[in-house]
Protein backbone atom coordinates (compact mmCIF):
# COMPACT_ATOMS: atom_id res chain seq x y z
CA UNK A 1 0.00 0.00 0.00
CA UNK A 2 2.88 2.35 0.84
CA UNK A 3 4.34 1.80 -2.64
CA UNK A 4 1.01 2.63 -4.23
CA UNK A 5 0.67 5.87 -2.28
CA UNK A 6 4.28 6.81 -3.02
CA UNK A 7 3.91 6.22 -6.76
CA UNK A 8 0.62 8.13 -6.72
CA UNK A 9 2.30 11.12 -5.06
CA UNK A 10 5.23 10.96 -7.51
CA UNK A 11 2.81 11.05 -10.44
CA UNK A 12 0.97 14.04 -8.99
CA UNK A 13 4.22 15.91 -8.33
CA UNK A 14 5.46 15.13 -11.85
CA UNK A 15 2.20 16.48 -13.15
CA UNK A 16 2.42 19.65 -11.08
CA UNK A 17 6.00 20.19 -12.23
CA UNK A 18 4.92 19.78 -15.83
CA UNK A 19 2.14 22.29 -15.39
CA UNK A 20 4.60 24.92 -14.27
CA UNK A 21 6.40 24.63 -17.59
CA UNK A 22 3.33 25.17 -19.73
CA UNK A 23 1.09 28.20 -19.27
CA UNK A 24 -1.82 26.76 -21.16
CA UNK A 25 -2.94 23.34 -19.97
CA UNK A 26 -5.51 21.29 -21.82
CA UNK A 27 -8.66 20.48 -19.92
CA UNK A 28 -11.09 17.72 -20.64
CA UNK A 29 -14.65 16.97 -19.71
CA UNK A 30 -16.41 13.74 -20.46
CA UNK A 31 -19.37 11.50 -19.87
CA UNK A 32 -18.16 8.57 -17.83
CA UNK A 33 -20.61 5.70 -18.12
CA UNK A 34 -19.75 2.64 -16.08
CA UNK A 35 -21.04 -0.32 -18.13
CA UNK A 36 -22.18 2.48 -20.49
CA UNK A 37 -25.50 2.94 -18.69
CA UNK A 38 -24.47 3.94 -15.16
CA UNK A 39 -23.98 7.67 -15.59
CA UNK A 40 -21.06 9.73 -14.43
CA UNK A 41 -18.80 12.64 -15.24
CA UNK A 42 -15.05 13.06 -15.42
CA UNK A 43 -13.03 16.27 -15.42
CA UNK A 44 -9.33 16.36 -16.10
CA UNK A 45 -6.36 18.44 -16.92
CA UNK A 46 -3.62 17.04 -19.08
CA UNK A 47 -0.12 17.96 -19.94
CA UNK A 48 2.25 17.01 -22.67
CA UNK A 49 5.46 15.51 -21.28
CA UNK A 50 7.01 14.72 -24.62
CA UNK A 51 6.34 15.70 -28.24
CA UNK A 52 7.82 14.51 -31.50
CA UNK A 53 6.44 15.95 -34.72
CA UNK A 54 6.99 14.76 -38.23
CA UNK A 55 5.50 15.64 -41.59
CA UNK A 56 4.03 13.42 -44.23
CA UNK A 57 2.90 15.05 -47.50
CA UNK A 58 2.82 18.47 -45.80
CA UNK A 59 0.64 17.06 -43.03
CA UNK A 60 1.68 16.98 -39.41
CA UNK A 61 1.99 13.74 -37.43
CA UNK A 62 2.37 13.95 -33.65
CA UNK A 63 3.74 11.49 -31.12
CA UNK A 64 3.03 12.61 -27.56
CA UNK A 65 3.49 11.35 -24.04
CA UNK A 66 0.62 12.74 -22.00
CA UNK A 67 -0.05 12.86 -18.30
CA UNK A 68 -3.45 13.66 -16.78
CA UNK A 69 -4.95 14.38 -13.41
CA UNK A 70 -8.64 13.55 -13.20
CA UNK A 71 -11.54 13.74 -10.83
CA UNK A 72 -14.85 12.08 -11.50
CA UNK A 73 -17.69 9.96 -10.37
CA UNK A 74 -20.56 7.73 -11.39
CA UNK A 75 -23.58 6.24 -9.75
CA UNK A 76 -25.35 2.92 -9.45
CA UNK A 77 -28.89 3.94 -8.63
CA UNK A 78 -29.89 2.32 -5.31
CA UNK A 79 -26.42 0.85 -4.75
CA UNK A 80 -23.64 3.36 -4.55
CA UNK A 81 -22.21 6.61 -5.81
CA UNK A 82 -18.49 6.53 -6.43
CA UNK A 83 -15.99 9.37 -6.58
CA UNK A 84 -12.46 8.98 -7.81
CA UNK A 85 -9.24 10.91 -8.15
CA UNK A 86 -6.69 9.44 -10.49
CA UNK A 87 -3.63 10.21 -12.52
CA UNK A 88 -2.83 8.71 -15.91
CA UNK A 89 0.10 8.59 -18.23
CA UNK A 90 0.13 7.37 -21.81
CA UNK A 91 0.97 7.69 -25.46
CA UNK A 92 -1.08 9.66 -27.99
CA UNK A 93 -0.65 9.48 -31.74
CA UNK A 94 -2.20 12.06 -34.02
CA UNK A 95 -2.32 10.92 -37.65
CA UNK A 96 -1.90 13.22 -40.62
CA UNK A 97 -5.67 13.41 -41.12
CA UNK A 98 -6.27 14.46 -37.52
CA UNK A 99 -7.34 11.03 -36.32
CA UNK A 100 -6.14 10.35 -32.77
CA UNK A 101 -5.53 7.16 -30.90
CA UNK A 102 -4.08 6.81 -27.45
CA UNK A 103 -3.46 4.37 -24.69
CA UNK A 104 -3.25 5.31 -21.03
CA UNK A 105 -2.56 3.60 -17.74
CA UNK A 106 -3.40 5.12 -14.41
CA UNK A 107 -3.68 4.77 -10.70
CA UNK A 108 -6.11 6.41 -8.36
CA UNK A 109 -8.26 6.44 -5.29
CA UNK A 110 -11.90 5.35 -5.41
CA UNK A 111 -14.36 6.13 -2.66
CA UNK A 112 -17.77 4.46 -2.65
CA UNK A 113 -20.78 5.95 -0.88
CA UNK A 114 -23.69 3.62 -0.34
CA UNK A 115 -26.96 4.91 -1.83
CA UNK A 116 -29.33 4.10 0.98
CA UNK A 117 -29.59 4.17 4.73
CA UNK A 118 -27.03 1.79 6.20
CA UNK A 119 -27.60 0.31 9.61
CA UNK A 120 -25.47 -1.66 11.97
CA UNK A 121 -26.78 -3.86 14.76
CA UNK A 122 -24.65 -4.39 17.85
CA UNK A 123 -24.48 -7.66 19.77
CA UNK A 124 -26.86 -6.29 22.41
CA UNK A 125 -29.42 -5.51 19.70
CA UNK A 126 -29.08 -1.74 19.47
CA UNK A 127 -29.27 -0.20 16.02
CA UNK A 128 -27.42 2.78 14.65
CA UNK A 129 -27.29 4.42 11.25
CA UNK A 130 -23.89 4.84 9.64
CA UNK A 131 -23.21 8.28 8.21
CA UNK A 132 -21.67 8.26 4.71
CA UNK A 133 -21.19 4.51 4.67
CA UNK A 134 -18.91 3.20 1.97
CA UNK A 135 -15.41 1.96 1.38
CA UNK A 136 -12.02 3.08 0.14
CA UNK A 137 -10.28 1.40 -2.75
CA UNK A 138 -7.22 1.57 -4.91
CA UNK A 139 -8.11 2.11 -8.57
CA UNK A 140 -5.67 1.13 -11.32
CA UNK A 141 -6.95 1.76 -14.85
CA UNK A 142 -6.22 1.10 -18.49
CA UNK A 143 -7.82 2.71 -21.52
CA UNK A 144 -7.66 2.77 -25.30
CA UNK A 145 -8.94 5.96 -26.88
CA UNK A 146 -9.96 7.12 -30.32
CA UNK A 147 -10.86 10.59 -31.50
CA UNK A 148 -10.04 13.44 -33.79
CA UNK A 149 -8.45 16.87 -33.73
CA UNK A 150 -10.76 19.80 -34.27
CA UNK A 151 -9.25 21.63 -37.24
CA UNK A 152 -10.35 25.17 -36.42
CA UNK A 153 -7.41 26.74 -34.59
CA UNK A 154 -9.59 29.52 -33.19
CA UNK A 155 -11.85 27.08 -31.48
CA UNK A 156 -11.20 26.43 -27.80
CA UNK A 157 -12.29 22.82 -28.33
CA UNK A 158 -9.19 21.00 -29.49
CA UNK A 159 -10.38 17.42 -29.90
CA UNK A 160 -13.11 14.94 -29.19
CA UNK A 161 -12.60 11.38 -28.09
CA UNK A 162 -14.23 8.16 -27.03
CA UNK A 163 -12.51 5.48 -25.02
CA UNK A 164 -13.34 2.23 -23.34
CA UNK A 165 -11.83 2.13 -19.86
CA UNK A 166 -11.08 -0.86 -17.69
CA UNK A 167 -10.53 -0.06 -14.05
CA UNK A 168 -10.26 -2.17 -10.95
CA UNK A 169 -11.64 -1.73 -7.47
CA UNK A 170 -9.20 -3.16 -4.94
CA UNK A 171 -10.01 -4.57 -2.50
CA UNK A 172 -13.57 -5.75 -2.96
CA UNK A 173 -14.58 -8.60 -0.69
CA UNK A 174 -10.97 -9.79 -0.46
CA UNK A 175 -10.83 -9.79 -4.21
CA UNK A 176 -10.72 -7.39 -7.15
CA UNK A 177 -13.81 -6.03 -8.85
CA UNK A 178 -13.30 -5.10 -12.51
CA UNK A 179 -15.33 -2.27 -14.01
CA UNK A 180 -15.81 -1.39 -17.66
CA UNK A 181 -16.71 2.16 -18.63
CA UNK A 182 -17.12 4.30 -21.69
CA UNK A 183 -15.62 7.75 -21.55
CA UNK A 184 -16.54 10.23 -24.26
CA UNK A 185 -15.79 13.91 -24.21
CA UNK A 186 -13.80 16.86 -25.44
CA UNK A 187 -10.39 18.40 -24.87
CA UNK A 188 -10.31 22.17 -24.63
CA UNK A 189 -8.04 25.06 -23.74
CA UNK A 190 -9.15 28.20 -21.97
CA UNK A 191 -6.61 30.30 -23.92
CA UNK A 192 -7.27 29.72 -27.61
Amino acid sequence: MKKIITSFLICISLFCYAQKENKSPTFKISYFGEMITHPGLKFGVEHQLFLKESRKKQKEIKHQIISCLNIGGYTHFKFNTNLFLNTEIGYRHTCSGGFIYETMIGIGYLRTFINGKTYTVTNNGSISEIFLAGSNSFMPSFSLGFGADVKNKNNCIKAWYIKPVLFLQMPYNSSILPHLAIETGINFQLNK
Binding site: K78, I114, G116, Y119, T120, G125, A133, Y172, S174, P178
Partner: protein, 348 residues
Protein backbone atom coordinates in the same frame (compact mmCIF):
# COMPACT_ATOMS: atom_id res chain seq x y z
CA UNK B 1 -74.78 27.41 -8.00
CA UNK B 2 -76.12 27.92 -4.50
CA UNK B 3 -78.77 25.32 -5.17
CA UNK B 4 -76.16 22.80 -6.25
CA UNK B 5 -73.94 23.16 -3.17
CA UNK B 6 -75.97 21.05 -0.76
CA UNK B 7 -76.57 18.12 -3.19
CA UNK B 8 -72.84 18.07 -4.11
CA UNK B 9 -71.87 18.12 -0.44
CA UNK B 10 -74.26 15.29 0.35
CA UNK B 11 -73.04 13.24 -2.61
CA UNK B 12 -69.42 13.72 -1.55
CA UNK B 13 -70.23 12.64 2.01
CA UNK B 14 -72.02 9.54 0.74
CA UNK B 15 -69.09 8.64 -1.51
CA UNK B 16 -66.59 9.08 1.30
CA UNK B 17 -68.65 7.01 3.70
CA UNK B 18 -68.99 4.25 1.08
CA UNK B 19 -65.28 4.08 0.40
CA UNK B 20 -63.96 0.75 1.52
CA UNK B 21 -60.96 0.81 3.80
CA UNK B 22 -57.96 -0.02 1.68
CA UNK B 23 -56.31 -3.38 2.39
CA UNK B 24 -53.27 -2.55 0.30
CA UNK B 25 -50.44 -0.55 1.79
CA UNK B 26 -47.58 -1.05 -0.60
CA UNK B 27 -44.09 -0.36 0.66
CA UNK B 28 -40.93 -0.20 -1.42
CA UNK B 29 -37.85 0.47 0.67
CA UNK B 30 -34.20 -0.21 0.18
CA UNK B 31 -31.69 -0.18 2.97
CA UNK B 32 -28.38 -1.73 3.85
CA UNK B 33 -27.18 -3.83 6.74
CA UNK B 34 -23.53 -3.60 7.73
CA UNK B 35 -22.33 -6.67 9.55
CA UNK B 36 -18.79 -7.99 9.98
CA UNK B 37 -17.31 -6.03 7.06
CA UNK B 38 -20.21 -6.72 4.67
CA UNK B 39 -22.60 -4.06 3.36
CA UNK B 40 -25.66 -6.02 2.32
CA UNK B 41 -28.54 -4.51 0.32
CA UNK B 42 -32.07 -5.26 1.45
CA UNK B 43 -35.10 -4.57 -0.74
CA UNK B 44 -38.37 -4.51 1.18
CA UNK B 45 -41.34 -4.61 -1.17
CA UNK B 46 -44.96 -5.56 -0.98
CA UNK B 47 -48.26 -5.25 0.82
CA UNK B 48 -47.79 -4.17 4.42
CA UNK B 49 -51.47 -4.52 5.38
CA UNK B 50 -51.14 -8.09 6.67
CA UNK B 51 -47.85 -7.38 8.45
CA UNK B 52 -46.55 -10.69 7.10
CA UNK B 53 -42.91 -10.41 6.02
CA UNK B 54 -41.22 -13.12 3.94
CA UNK B 55 -37.42 -13.05 4.05
CA UNK B 56 -35.96 -14.53 0.87
CA UNK B 57 -32.78 -16.55 1.41
CA UNK B 58 -31.27 -16.88 -2.05
CA UNK B 59 -29.20 -19.76 -3.31
CA UNK B 60 -25.54 -20.06 -4.08
CA UNK B 61 -23.61 -19.33 -2.05
CA UNK B 62 -23.12 -16.23 -4.11
CA UNK B 63 -26.34 -15.88 -6.13
CA UNK B 64 -27.73 -12.48 -7.02
CA UNK B 65 -30.90 -11.54 -5.15
CA UNK B 66 -31.78 -9.22 -8.05
CA UNK B 67 -32.20 -12.27 -10.28
CA UNK B 68 -34.68 -13.64 -7.77
CA UNK B 69 -36.45 -10.31 -7.50
CA UNK B 70 -36.57 -9.34 -11.18
CA UNK B 71 -36.47 -12.53 -13.24
CA UNK B 72 -38.94 -14.52 -11.17
CA UNK B 73 -41.48 -11.71 -11.35
CA UNK B 74 -44.68 -13.63 -11.94
CA UNK B 75 -43.81 -15.51 -8.75
CA UNK B 76 -42.58 -12.57 -6.65
CA UNK B 77 -45.26 -10.13 -7.84
CA UNK B 78 -48.03 -12.39 -6.67
CA UNK B 79 -46.43 -12.75 -3.27
CA UNK B 80 -45.82 -8.99 -3.05
CA UNK B 81 -49.54 -8.40 -3.66
CA UNK B 82 -50.21 -10.24 -0.40
CA UNK B 83 -47.13 -9.88 1.77
CA UNK B 84 -43.98 -7.85 2.21
CA UNK B 85 -41.09 -9.60 0.51
CA UNK B 86 -37.66 -8.96 2.00
CA UNK B 87 -35.00 -9.52 -0.64
CA UNK B 88 -31.79 -9.79 1.33
CA UNK B 89 -28.48 -9.99 -0.52
CA UNK B 90 -26.22 -12.22 1.53
CA UNK B 91 -22.59 -11.35 2.27
CA UNK B 92 -20.10 -11.90 -0.52
CA UNK B 93 -22.90 -12.51 -3.01
CA UNK B 94 -24.39 -10.70 -6.00
CA UNK B 95 -24.42 -6.96 -5.37
CA UNK B 96 -23.23 -7.19 -1.77
CA UNK B 97 -20.47 -4.70 -1.03
CA UNK B 98 -17.75 -4.28 1.57
CA UNK B 99 -14.51 -6.05 2.18
CA UNK B 100 -15.29 -9.43 3.64
CA UNK B 101 -12.17 -11.50 4.29
CA UNK B 102 -11.95 -15.26 4.68
CA UNK B 103 -12.37 -14.96 8.47
CA UNK B 104 -15.75 -13.32 7.95
CA UNK B 105 -17.22 -15.79 5.53
CA UNK B 106 -17.90 -18.68 7.84
CA UNK B 107 -21.26 -20.41 8.02
CA UNK B 108 -21.88 -18.79 11.41
CA UNK B 109 -21.63 -15.31 9.82
CA UNK B 110 -24.72 -15.97 7.71
CA UNK B 111 -26.73 -16.90 10.80
CA UNK B 112 -25.50 -13.81 12.65
CA UNK B 113 -26.48 -11.66 9.65
CA UNK B 114 -29.98 -13.14 9.68
CA UNK B 115 -30.36 -12.46 13.39
CA UNK B 116 -29.35 -8.85 12.81
CA UNK B 117 -31.65 -8.57 9.81
CA UNK B 118 -34.64 -9.64 11.90
CA UNK B 119 -33.77 -7.13 14.64
CA UNK B 120 -33.50 -4.44 11.97
CA UNK B 121 -36.83 -5.37 10.34
CA UNK B 122 -38.64 -5.28 13.69
CA UNK B 123 -37.03 -1.94 14.47
CA UNK B 124 -38.10 -0.49 11.11
CA UNK B 125 -41.55 -2.01 10.68
CA UNK B 126 -42.77 -2.84 14.18
CA UNK B 127 -42.30 -5.59 16.72
CA UNK B 128 -45.69 -7.08 15.81
CA UNK B 129 -44.73 -8.15 12.28
CA UNK B 130 -44.88 -11.84 11.40
CA UNK B 131 -41.71 -13.18 9.81
CA UNK B 132 -41.49 -16.16 7.47
CA UNK B 133 -38.31 -17.56 5.95
CA UNK B 134 -38.19 -18.68 2.33
CA UNK B 135 -34.98 -20.50 1.45
CA UNK B 136 -34.07 -21.63 -2.03
CA UNK B 137 -31.26 -24.18 -2.50
CA UNK B 138 -28.32 -22.91 -0.40
CA UNK B 139 -30.85 -20.65 1.32
CA UNK B 140 -32.31 -23.85 2.74
CA UNK B 141 -29.01 -24.53 4.48
CA UNK B 142 -28.65 -21.16 6.15
CA UNK B 143 -32.35 -21.05 7.00
CA UNK B 144 -32.10 -24.44 8.70
CA UNK B 145 -28.92 -23.40 10.52
CA UNK B 146 -30.68 -20.28 11.75
CA UNK B 147 -33.71 -22.20 12.98
CA UNK B 148 -31.55 -24.73 14.82
CA UNK B 149 -29.66 -22.09 16.76
CA UNK B 150 -30.79 -21.11 20.28
CA UNK B 151 -34.37 -19.82 20.37
CA UNK B 152 -34.40 -18.38 16.86
CA UNK B 153 -37.57 -20.30 15.94
CA UNK B 154 -39.50 -18.07 18.35
CA UNK B 155 -39.02 -15.17 15.94
CA UNK B 156 -40.25 -17.08 12.88
CA UNK B 157 -43.86 -17.85 12.01
CA UNK B 158 -43.18 -20.34 9.23
CA UNK B 159 -40.40 -22.01 7.23
CA UNK B 160 -40.60 -22.46 3.47
CA UNK B 161 -38.00 -24.41 1.53
CA UNK B 162 -37.89 -24.42 -2.26
CA UNK B 163 -35.44 -27.09 -3.43
CA UNK B 164 -33.56 -26.33 -0.23
CA UNK B 165 -30.37 -28.09 0.68
CA UNK B 166 -29.65 -28.71 4.34
CA UNK B 167 -27.40 -31.76 4.07
CA UNK B 168 -24.66 -31.63 1.47
CA UNK B 169 -23.05 -35.08 1.92
CA UNK B 170 -26.51 -36.64 1.61
CA UNK B 171 -27.32 -34.45 -1.38
CA UNK B 172 -24.27 -35.62 -3.31
CA UNK B 173 -25.29 -39.22 -2.59
CA UNK B 174 -28.88 -38.55 -3.71
CA UNK B 175 -27.68 -36.73 -6.85
CA UNK B 176 -25.70 -39.80 -7.83
CA UNK B 177 -28.64 -42.13 -7.14
CA UNK B 178 -31.05 -39.93 -9.09
CA UNK B 179 -28.77 -39.63 -12.10
CA UNK B 180 -28.28 -43.40 -12.26
CA UNK B 181 -31.94 -44.31 -11.67
CA UNK B 182 -33.24 -41.69 -14.13
CA UNK B 183 -30.65 -42.80 -16.69
CA UNK B 184 -31.71 -46.43 -16.37
CA UNK B 185 -35.36 -45.46 -16.84
CA UNK B 186 -34.56 -43.37 -19.90
CA UNK B 187 -32.50 -46.17 -21.41
CA UNK B 188 -35.45 -48.52 -20.85
CA UNK B 189 -37.59 -46.05 -22.83
CA UNK B 190 -34.91 -45.87 -25.51
CA UNK B 191 -34.26 -42.14 -24.94
CA UNK B 192 -30.71 -40.84 -25.56
CA UNK B 193 -29.33 -44.28 -24.79
CA UNK B 194 -25.72 -43.57 -25.63
CA UNK B 195 -25.58 -40.32 -23.66
CA UNK B 196 -27.25 -41.85 -20.62
CA UNK B 197 -24.90 -44.82 -20.67
CA UNK B 198 -22.01 -42.38 -20.73
CA UNK B 199 -23.41 -40.33 -17.80
CA UNK B 200 -24.17 -43.44 -15.74
CA UNK B 201 -20.63 -44.68 -16.24
CA UNK B 202 -19.20 -41.32 -15.16
CA UNK B 203 -21.53 -41.19 -12.13
CA UNK B 204 -20.49 -44.68 -11.06
CA UNK B 205 -16.86 -43.58 -11.18
CA UNK B 206 -17.41 -40.56 -8.91
CA UNK B 207 -15.89 -41.05 -5.48
CA UNK B 208 -18.04 -38.90 -3.21
CA UNK B 209 -15.42 -38.98 -0.46
CA UNK B 210 -13.29 -36.60 -2.49
CA UNK B 211 -13.88 -32.97 -3.50
CA UNK B 212 -13.20 -33.92 -7.12
CA UNK B 213 -15.87 -36.60 -6.96
CA UNK B 214 -18.41 -34.17 -5.48
CA UNK B 215 -17.70 -31.56 -8.14
CA UNK B 216 -17.87 -34.19 -10.88
CA UNK B 217 -21.29 -35.40 -9.76
CA UNK B 218 -22.45 -31.77 -9.58
CA UNK B 219 -21.43 -31.25 -13.21
CA UNK B 220 -23.27 -34.43 -14.19
CA UNK B 221 -26.52 -33.08 -12.67
CA UNK B 222 -26.50 -30.41 -15.35
CA UNK B 223 -25.81 -32.92 -18.11
CA UNK B 224 -28.65 -35.11 -16.86
CA UNK B 225 -31.06 -32.17 -16.80
CA UNK B 226 -30.06 -31.17 -20.33
CA UNK B 227 -30.95 -34.65 -21.52
CA UNK B 228 -34.31 -34.45 -19.78
CA UNK B 229 -35.37 -31.21 -21.46
CA UNK B 230 -36.26 -33.31 -24.48
CA UNK B 231 -38.95 -34.91 -22.32
CA UNK B 232 -42.14 -32.94 -22.97
CA UNK B 233 -43.17 -32.35 -19.38
CA UNK B 234 -39.97 -30.52 -18.36
CA UNK B 235 -40.30 -26.77 -18.66
CA UNK B 236 -37.07 -25.33 -20.03
CA UNK B 237 -35.42 -22.76 -17.84
CA UNK B 238 -33.01 -20.73 -19.96
CA UNK B 239 -32.40 -17.02 -19.86
CA UNK B 240 -33.48 -15.28 -23.06
CA UNK B 241 -30.99 -13.18 -25.02
CA UNK B 242 -32.78 -10.03 -23.87
CA UNK B 243 -32.54 -11.10 -20.22
CA UNK B 244 -28.85 -11.83 -20.65
CA UNK B 245 -28.13 -8.45 -22.29
CA UNK B 246 -30.24 -6.64 -19.70
CA UNK B 247 -28.27 -8.44 -17.03
CA UNK B 248 -25.02 -7.06 -18.44
CA UNK B 249 -25.85 -3.53 -19.57
CA UNK B 250 -28.88 -2.68 -17.43
CA UNK B 251 -27.92 -4.56 -14.33
CA UNK B 252 -28.60 -2.14 -11.47
CA UNK B 253 -25.13 -2.87 -10.17
CA UNK B 254 -21.83 -4.00 -11.66
CA UNK B 255 -22.54 -7.37 -13.34
CA UNK B 256 -19.01 -8.55 -12.59
CA UNK B 257 -19.71 -8.32 -8.86
CA UNK B 258 -21.72 -11.52 -9.06
CA UNK B 259 -18.82 -13.46 -10.59
CA UNK B 260 -16.24 -11.96 -8.24
CA UNK B 261 -18.43 -12.66 -5.21
CA UNK B 262 -19.02 -16.26 -6.22
CA UNK B 263 -15.26 -16.82 -6.25
CA UNK B 264 -14.68 -14.76 -3.10
CA UNK B 265 -17.49 -16.67 -1.42
CA UNK B 266 -15.91 -19.96 -2.46
CA UNK B 267 -13.99 -19.73 0.82
CA UNK B 268 -17.16 -20.97 2.50
CA UNK B 269 -17.26 -24.03 0.24
CA UNK B 270 -14.92 -26.07 2.37
CA UNK B 271 -17.39 -25.71 5.23
CA UNK B 272 -20.66 -26.27 3.48
CA UNK B 273 -19.57 -29.34 1.58
CA UNK B 274 -19.55 -31.13 4.93
CA UNK B 275 -22.63 -29.43 6.33
CA UNK B 276 -25.06 -32.10 7.48
CA UNK B 277 -28.18 -31.02 9.35
CA UNK B 278 -30.48 -33.92 8.56
CA UNK B 279 -30.12 -35.47 12.01
CA UNK B 280 -30.92 -32.18 13.75
CA UNK B 281 -34.02 -31.26 11.78
CA UNK B 282 -36.29 -32.86 14.40
CA UNK B 283 -35.59 -29.73 16.49
CA UNK B 284 -37.61 -27.65 14.00
CA UNK B 285 -41.09 -27.23 15.41
CA UNK B 286 -42.59 -24.36 13.45
CA UNK B 287 -45.01 -24.76 10.50
CA UNK B 288 -43.05 -25.76 7.42
CA UNK B 289 -43.66 -26.03 3.69
CA UNK B 290 -41.41 -28.02 1.37
CA UNK B 291 -41.53 -27.42 -2.38
CA UNK B 292 -39.30 -29.70 -4.43
CA UNK B 293 -39.07 -30.48 -8.14
CA UNK B 294 -39.40 -33.75 -9.96
CA UNK B 295 -36.57 -33.03 -12.39
CA UNK B 296 -34.18 -31.38 -9.95
CA UNK B 297 -30.91 -33.27 -10.12
CA UNK B 298 -29.08 -30.61 -8.06
CA UNK B 299 -31.18 -31.01 -4.92
CA UNK B 300 -33.26 -34.14 -5.46
CA UNK B 301 -36.78 -34.12 -4.01
CA UNK B 302 -35.88 -37.07 -1.80
CA UNK B 303 -33.84 -34.68 0.36
CA UNK B 304 -36.91 -32.52 0.90
CA UNK B 305 -38.92 -35.57 1.81
CA UNK B 306 -36.29 -36.52 4.39
CA UNK B 307 -36.67 -33.07 5.96
CA UNK B 308 -40.44 -33.33 5.84
CA UNK B 309 -40.26 -36.60 7.76
CA UNK B 310 -37.71 -35.32 10.27
CA UNK B 311 -39.23 -32.09 11.55
CA UNK B 312 -41.31 -32.24 14.73
CA UNK B 313 -44.56 -30.60 13.77
CA UNK B 314 -47.83 -31.70 12.28
CA UNK B 315 -48.18 -28.33 10.59
CA UNK B 316 -46.18 -29.33 7.55
CA UNK B 317 -46.76 -29.81 3.85
CA UNK B 318 -44.76 -31.36 1.04
CA UNK B 319 -45.44 -30.43 -2.57
CA UNK B 320 -43.80 -31.78 -5.70
CA UNK B 321 -43.49 -29.57 -8.79
CA UNK B 322 -43.84 -32.09 -11.59
CA UNK B 323 -42.56 -30.00 -14.51
CA UNK B 324 -39.58 -28.21 -13.01
CA UNK B 325 -35.93 -28.59 -12.20
CA UNK B 326 -33.99 -26.46 -9.71
CA UNK B 327 -35.85 -23.17 -10.31
CA UNK B 328 -39.58 -23.90 -9.98
CA UNK B 329 -40.23 -20.24 -9.05
CA UNK B 330 -39.47 -19.50 -12.69
CA UNK B 331 -40.89 -22.56 -14.39
CA UNK B 332 -44.06 -23.06 -12.30
CA UNK B 333 -44.54 -19.62 -10.71
CA UNK B 334 -48.28 -19.84 -10.05
CA UNK B 335 -48.13 -23.22 -8.42
CA UNK B 336 -45.28 -22.07 -6.16
CA UNK B 337 -46.82 -18.75 -5.17
CA UNK B 338 -50.28 -20.27 -4.62
CA UNK B 339 -48.80 -22.94 -2.36
CA UNK B 340 -46.94 -20.31 -0.33
CA UNK B 341 -49.98 -18.04 -0.01
CA UNK B 342 -52.14 -20.97 1.08
CA UNK B 343 -49.49 -21.97 3.64
CA UNK B 344 -49.16 -18.49 5.13
CA UNK B 345 -52.91 -17.95 5.24
CA UNK B 346 -53.33 -21.29 7.01
CA UNK B 347 -50.72 -20.76 9.69
CA UNK B 348 -50.54 -16.98 10.13
Amino acid sequence: MKNLFIPILLLTMILISCEKESTNIYISDHLFLRSNKADMPIFVEGNYASKNFVIVLHGGPGDDILVFKELFQPFTEKLEENYVMVYWQQRCAGSSQGNVDSENIQLSNYVTDMEKLIILLKHQYGKDINIYLLGHSWGGAIGSMFLLKDNNQMNIKGWIEICGNHDFPLTFQLEKEKIISTGKNQIAFGNNTESWNNIIEKANNCDLNTIEGKLAIYVLTDEAYNLMVSVDSVIINDFTTKETLDGIFFHPYNPFSNIVNVFAGAAVNKDYMDLSLNNDLHKIKIPSLFLYSEYDFTVPSKLGHEAFEQISTNKKEFIILYHSEHWPMRTEPDKCSNAIIAFIEKYK
